[in-house]
Symmetry: C2
Subunit: 354 residues, 2 copies
């Protein structure tokens, strides 16, 4: 871990973690959905193993590096849910991954499909469609043409997928799940009409997962495993469901404000307009982080200010980006003190493989 | 480096780096200012060595971990320009650092000064004042009382310092430098009146460094060594002065937009309201990064779109946070291709020590 044990560290509560894993696993099973948790959130073999033990069908990842790390686990399937551009060097790596697991790769353009075929990647393809987030992905209607082209190239089209990222705004989880279902229904029909045997219909995001509609066969939530200030402020979790935090120290105080030593280099700089600040203080629900720089979080809070030197737990806005800033999780279910040198630590195994 | 050589990587142009180091060194020398570059920007022994070779008086750092890394260089002085909360564990580390270099530590409260005295840290203290950024720091008038208290505790008050962070807005560099000078002048007089021998007057930030006023003895700019999209948009550098970028790949395109694989996990998520987006594309000055998620940068640009698979260089908004996301710099003065396996690489030695 950080050579300075009093510096902000990444704290993971294993009791809450286990409850979050169990809750999503049961929810997916009850609805007949295959759960492919997105491992970009945690980048951790220990966490992934627990998700698989709870019944996950496979793991979702964003990068080739992440696929390599998690293939070592002996996972049944890995889905690189990303419009990957495959080069010769990447092809060699992907073939090695495919020897250890069943590989699925996202595709949303003919040139990318041609690269997959040219380099003989032994992977099924999943066609990405845009369901309203307007990032990558084809229109649903265009999925048929790409399915036909991919088939002509000798690729197996396993299904269609989308990321309903517009679920990340207050009150949008249900509506985004509706858009997701509509886009995937149209894309699936188009792919089948083009002759693809496509039967995987993959959606999901943590705020929309609870609203996933029956057309879906798979969901890919990521953040649910930890939760974070964004999920809390979206109403997608309760404060007691947040397993991940940064243990910070009060270093300055004056007139209703304190400064914590956890800034954007330990919490991340994510700050969507609909959030109340740069994260939330777990023990101070009324506190707000009104500004942040690399090593300073400026906190406004009512009532008596905590003393200089007090350690507090800060839930970052975005767990995925916060985790990627740290080398280790320190496991603890007690308060926010200096970590016990004997505390269990888990590596962020895929840190930096972005 | 990242096991996937085609993933976004951190690229450093050594020719521009050398020019940036030389320009600031000459500017400081011409004005009789001691240059204490902030090493939190680069976290690199190789870069620090070049700054010292060019005449830097010492290095500024933000954390104990960074101080430990850079003390190994044999640097004449290290200034932890931060209101550090010193524990017994940290005291042991700081004493080890002080055996290798002359140590200065920021202080802005009596309890923090008492900790420094109690743990017998062999360091001079620098009193932090607020010059308008309204983060940490005392009012200038209050510097006298703390200087007296520190003296009574047996601490040597070496001087006063501020960070004029309100220079980070368009057109504010000169005004912030004026506020900096006014606050430091008042604080210095107050400290001297309280009997402190204080003679170091330390300010600086990259946008205000060129405007530093005669009361200052030391400046602590950090970003100037690389420059970034923020400095460009503030007018603090020209595009050709940007030494640091992330080499990214076009993975999706449609109707005036492309998606790059460099998202917030490789560029950082910094996005002040006055910036035009999440960074700037060096080869496409009219392009704007209108949205970013972890692995996607959504770019709008006029004219013909680059082909899928094209590599482009993206200057991050904030060099300090971007560097901290990577393990290595890949040195290159040519185009943005896949890095040569024989390319020189420099470690981000203090990565994660936040």
């Amino acid at each position: 871990m950080n050579p300075d044990r009093d510096a902000p560290y990444l704290r993971l509560d294993p009791v809450i973690l286990a409850a979050n894993i169990d809750r999503m696993a049961r929810s997916a099973k009850a609805r007949g959905l295959a759960l492919w948790p997105h491992a970009k959130t945690h980048k951790s073999l220990e966490v992934a193993r627990r998700q698989l033990d709870a019944g996950a069908a496979g793991l979702t990842v964003a990068t080739v590096g992440e696929a390599e790390v998690f293939a070592a686990l002996g996972v049944p399937g890995i889905f690189i849910a990303y419009p990957l551009w495959v080069t010769q060097e990447r092809a060699r790596r992907l073939r090695a991954v495919a020897e250890r697991t069943q590989l699925r790769i996202g595709v949303e353009s003919l040139p990318a499909a041609e690269q997959l075929a040219q380099f003989k990647i032994p992977a099924d393809v999943m066609i990405e469609v845009d369901s309203g987030h307007h990032r990558s992905g084809l229109t649903p209607a265009a999925a048929g043409e790409l399915a036909a082209q991919a088939g002509n190239l000798g690729l197996k089209v396993a299904g269609v997928f989308t990321f309903p990222g517009h679920s990340y705004a207050p009150g949008q989880g249900n509506g985004a799940a509706g858009d997701e279902a509509a886009a995937l229904t149209e894309a699936l029909a188009a792919a089948k009409a083009a002759g693809a045997a496509a039967d995987a219909v993959s959606g999901g995001s943590s705020p929309s997962a609870a609203h996933a509609q029956p057309v879906l066969t798979d969901i890919r939530p990521g953040v649910y495993v930890f939760n974070d200030a964004q999920q809390l402020e979206l109403g997608a979790c309760a404060a007691e469901d947040i397993a991940l935090s940064v243990a910070a120290t009060v270093v300055s105080k004056s007139g209703g404000r304190v400064i914590l030593d956890s800034g954007t280099k330990t919490l991340g700089a994510d700050r969507p307009a609909w959030t109340t600040g740069y994260g939330r203080l777990l023990e101070y629900p009324d506190a707000r982080i009104v500004a942040a720089s690399e090593h300073h979080a400026t906190v406004e809070l009512p009532g008596p200010l905590p003393a200089l030197g007090t350690r507090v737990l800060v839930a970052p806005n975005h767990a995925c980006n916060a985790v990627n800033l740290h080398n280790y999780y320190v496991l603890s279910s007690t308060g926010p003190g200096t970590p016990d040198p004997a505390a269990t630590m888990w590596a962020v195994d895929a840190r930096g493989m972005n």
